[in-house]
Symmetry: C2
Amino acid sequence: MAPRADKPTITVADVARRAGTSTAVVSYVMNDGPRAVAAATRERVLAAAAELGYRPNRIARALRSRTTGVVGLILADSPNPYFGDLARHVERALDERDRLVLIGNAGYSAERQRRLVDRFLAAQVDALVIVSADGGEDVTPQAEAAGVPIVYVHHGPDGGRAPLVEADNRHAAQEAVAHLRGHGHARIAFLSGPHDAGPVDRRRAAWQALAGDDPDALLLRCAYNRADADALIRRLVADDTVPRALITATDEQAIGILSGAWACGLAVPDELALISLDGTPESAHTAPALTVTRQPLRAMAEHAVELVFDPAFHAPAAQAPLVVRRSCGC
Amino acid sequence: MAPRADKPTITVADVARRAGTSTAVVSYVMNDGPRAVAAATRERVLAAAAELGYRPNRIARALRSRTTGVVGLILADSPNPYFGDLARHVERALDERDRLVLIGNAGYSAERQRRLVDRFLAAQVDALVIVSADGGEDVTPQAEAAGVPIVYVHHGPDGGRAPLVEADNRHAAQEAVAHLRGHGHARIAFLSGPHDAGPVDRRRAAWQALAGDDPDALLLRCAYNRADADALIRRLVADDTVPRALITATDEQAIGILSGAWACGLAVPDELALISLDGTPESAHTAPALTVTRQPLRAMAEHAVELVFDPAFHAPAAQAPLVVRRSCGC
DNA sequence: GGGGCCTATCTAACCGATTAGATGCGAGAA
DNA sequence: TTCTCGCATCTAATCGGTTAGATAGGCCCC
């Protein structure tokens, strides 16, 4: 690290000396401490602290009190705007509670995730929030061994003991199906992820329950990125098997569909009605704008943070509101 | 914070006892410390540490050694993908150097920025990286008072002493103009930000120098968000003053233009050729895909991190390569 | 007047790791 | 044999706050 100029540090002792008291009193004043301090003394301490520009050293405080005021936030995939947005909301919720946020990107690697958890625990984080894409490895044992509460958001490991916060994905899929039916579509396709697992699979299952006679023929799959969805729709156009109505699990996929469709001259929504079960900010500014069931990221983030502070907290899964824009045909 | 189960902490003392040595020796072993340790002893210590599952407490280490291995990263506006991407690259570069990252979002508020800096300094960060949108308030004095190195990325405060890392924005604008000229456009409009300042203004100035006879008539302005750019292009369509070629300062603006143009039936690139001087990942998947001069975020992030570790480091501004896609008319 | 009880404050142990200085021991030199 | 090194280790101070326990003074009541 860069050689830092060795500024003389102002400590409690300096403040105490200047205020003519002991370090204990200074500490009591700074924290509205466990003991009362006479008003006059409190004033002297505050004045001394201000004059000296005293700033308590959180590291020292953390060592003694065994709590750092820092929460570790691990993202499965930070480039993905969905996770990025979720992370932002978690960060905001923690900031409101005066907690600092240590951030790390696991990049879909179980090994990197484990390494981050290790380093965060060594840094004595007060809690861990894991925004997971595929569940990954369950790091609950590590966290438990360190006595650190842990919460998964969006997706948790199979059979994990740690609490998991996710949206009401069944309801979201049902709403999307109902809306497209309202547009007169009987056969509604669904673009899921590559595997049957997690929140997206709950969306898929809810769709399938309503899909009618031939769900298998209408179930599409691709990775959660634009390029693959783009390629998929081009292939469907080439094969002339484009459905009239499609629900995508994520915006990334919907945007890939949009860009592939545009390139092939396939008109959305006239030839293909589209709803995404996601709703990132970007979905409002695609061409055409996407109709979505917006994932309640803020509510999820707040729920997760609530859980971090109070493991007993309980609230129903937040609902994803239908946001009607253009891509559905409205 | 949640009441953490009080797991018995394993300390150096435990390891020392088990290995039959002193805490000093354990420390020497763990850090390939300042003194040598006999091979046999080293083995015993390592074995004891492994058996007990010892993990050094970074907080204690930080208190003593006055270096935390944590760098503070402050974003002017984390929802903005440009800043988000930049942040990701900074984070990755720091991770490669085994540093942890404390993240904070100032949300364009000078007061929030100051507060974050204060809290990060209290947390004893080893350095600060500030990804700034508008320069904001110069927090260099605060950082200097604490002896903490600081680097601005993208945009720095006017006349600030702290080093600033930005791309070669002049060159980017020149390339965009040249490319559109190659498509036969003589009059090329420029969509800048609301004010003349920072990197975007350097892009604007470079464009203006090449814009020919009537730059004022071709200079447009709007905020760096989709909604405003969307509204702007609709207004131009209504007034029938749409230029034939346009360079936008950012992707956010370009995407807003795209969505507004689509809504008005204005064809891009046929009726409006578009280049954005930005190049977020999203620009590849708009309809049509955006031609951009891609900001060298990774190089900038690495440059910034290099500077954090070695204030004397110097490298030329990284160049923004022209990425030809559809929106320019190619 | 003395005992009891507050209140305000001080003293010092403590958190866990780092590291300078002291110690002990064996090998080689004089 | 004695002295000098050098190596391996141990002891204990230190980083900066926090807080339990000790102390001192003042007030009230019997």
